[in-house]
């Protein structure tokens, strides 16, 4: 299957995204902000369709929208990020707005489907490089802030007393999440960002007792699920997003069963 250029691109792109989504997702799970991550991806849909309408690439529209929303979520603090109803409303409205934009540029359903459910098989070389550059930037940023972020996530009162600014790290982290969300959406679509960002990380956090092994396992699981899903899609002719999500769900269920023993 690697004889095809589009499959090689798909493997490369999904590897880049999986290796970044795993570690970022691990911190998202630690912070209990997974739903906020899900909402960001819906804002990304608005950004992508809005981008097309404004004549720029949907990917840049998506990155811009998620980044803006991520910074907003971080700045309004953990309290907003934990409000399920507020996030749910933002999520619904963002999706509806995206639909409106789609309506205006009178595009065909395939454009919408590609955004909502991803189209990893259509990724070209330039996109792979773009994903790699943004991904390296995100993972480097996460590495730099990881120690104070960890303390701020696990023991916020103590972190504050130790001189860690909770708001600063919330904003920085949500900015990273925003970029990685847009990257994931490129692979599995905005509706299934959970698949790569939260599924492997949640499974890893249930199976490990140490931060570094958790991060490593999250990245490894994300990669295995992405590549496994692509292969599965190639041989079964199922949509690749479905295959990846199927594996992510199975791995999570297995991890939950193992952890509760």
């Amino acid at each position: 299957m690697l004889a095809y250029a589009f499959m090689r691109h798909a493997f490369a792109a999904s590897a880049v995204v999986a290796l970044i989504a795993g570690p970022v997702g691990y911190f998202l799970v630690l912070r209990g902000q997974t739903f906020a991550g899900h909402a960001l991806s819906h804002v990304g849909f608005t950004g992508a369709t809005g981008g097309v309408l404004a004549g720029i690439s949907p990917f840049f529209g998506m990155v811009a929208a998620t980044l803006l929303a991520g910074l907003g979520m971080g700045a309004f603090g953990a309290r907003l990020a934990e409000r399920d109803v507020a996030i749910g409303m933002v999520l619904a409205f963002a999706l509806a707005l995206g639909m409106l934009f789609l309506h205006f540029f009178t595009a065909y359903a395939t454009a919408a489907t590609a955004l909502l459910f991803g189209n990893v098989l259509a990724v070209d070389t330039a996109t792979v490089w773009l994903l790699l550059a943004l991904g390296l930037g995100s993972i480097a940023a996460l590495a730099v802030i990881s120690r104070p972020l960890l303390l701020a996530s696990l023991q916020p009162e103590l972190a504050e007393a130790k001189g860690v600014s909770l708001r600063l790290y919330a904003v920085l982290f949500m900015a990273i999440v925003a970029i990685v969300t847009a990257e994931c959406a490129e692979i599995v679509g905005v509706l299934l960002v959970f698949t790569l960002m939260v599924g492997p990380a949640a499974a890893a956090s249930r199976l490990t007792r140490h931060v570094l092994s958790g991060v490593a396992l999250a990245a490894a699981l994300a990669l295995a699920e992405a590549w496994g899903g692509l292969s599965l899609a190639f041989y079964t002719d199922w949509p690749s997003s479905f295959s990846i999500t199927l594996l992510s769900t199975l791995v999570y269920l297995a991890a939950a069963a193992l952890a509760s023993r």
């Binding site: 590495a143 696990l154 023991q155 103590l158 007393a161 130790k162 956090s205 199976l207 007792r209």
Partner: protein, 272 residues
């Protein structure tokens, strides 16, 4: 040597004045029990000493200097810490997060950092506990780990905010005895807040009683009296001694026996 000094300090949260015109001096090596009803300002007072809350009046000195966040001379055990559900991180990983926790970088521990964490765990007798997931520990075991965390970096002042909450009486006594023993051995100053005086009797050097926006500091026998407490609360208070235990009563209500009032589930950071 003065460890903590308040001069005419007023602390406000939003529009509410929690403490007004408080004067107190705590000397090095003292073990102080901080008492008072829910909302009397126990947490607020500690947050002010940590530099997390600027007094709206008066001045605070910690080791002779203005309070500042991240002061390595202070160890802190915050009240009511909740962790994400389903988290399987080991106790060691969680408490080790405080080592250089404010510095940028990867959460690698240096050899010295690892040894410091092990030393602190050894001190509270929790070396084995730390290998287990924190979520799988009992309340008492968890408090011991958090106490170990506060010892990391060998602070000279320990602020312990309600470390007895949700512990049964036997574990409460164990915790008080452990802290007292450590304090004798390591020589730090401790402020230990609680909603009931009895577990602390015999361990503390002096009591700091907060109520009605005011504070009274002194030996237990001098502070927990009808005269002093009635003045703090602005209402007649009775103090009953029974079997070496003390009960503080207002009218027919036991003021200290309302532990359910002290559980703030998901309360914002502003609780007093």
């Amino acid at each position: 040597m003065k460890t903590l000094e308040f001069q005419d300090v007023t602390l406000t949260l939003g529009r509410r004045t929690v403490l007004a015109g408080v004067d107190l001096v705590i000397d090095a090596g003292e073990f102080i029990g901080v008492l008072g009803a829910n909302g009397a300002g126990k947490t607020t007072l500690m947050r002010a000493a940590l530099g997390l809350l600027t007094p709206s009046g008066g001045r605070i000195r910690v080791f002779g200097e203005q309070p500042r966040r991240g002061n390595p001379l202070i160890g802190y055990v915050p009240q009511h810490q909740s962790l994400p559900a389903g988290l399987r991180l080991s106790g060691f990983d969680i408490i080790a997060g405080v080592v250089a926790g404010h510095r940028l970088g990867l959460p690698w521990l240096s050899r010295a950092g690892r040894e410091e964490v092990s030393w602190a765990l050894e001190k509270v007798g929790a070396a084995d506990l730390a290998r287990r997931p924190l979520g799988a520990l009992s309340g008492g075991e968890r408090q011991r780990l958090l106490l170990a965390q506060a010892l990391i970096g060998r602070p000279r002042l320990l602020l312990l905010d309600e470390p007895l909450i949700s512990l049964d009486p036997r574990h409460q006594q164990g915790m008080v005895d452990l802290i007292r023993a450590l304090q004798k051995e390591l020589g730090f100053t401790a402020l230990f807040s609680a909603h009931e005086i009895n577990p602390l009797l015999g361990a503390i050097d002096r009591v700091l009683y907060l109520g009605g926006g005011k504070a009274a500091l002194g030996p237990v026998d001098a502070v927990i009296t009808p005269v002093v407490l009635s003045r703090l609360y602005g209402t007649p208070i009775e103090v009953v001694h029974l079997n070496n235990r003390i009960f503080v009563l207002a009218g027919n209500t036991d003021l200290e026996a309302q532990p359910h009032l002290h559980e703030h589930h998901g309360a914002p950071a502003g609780h007093a």
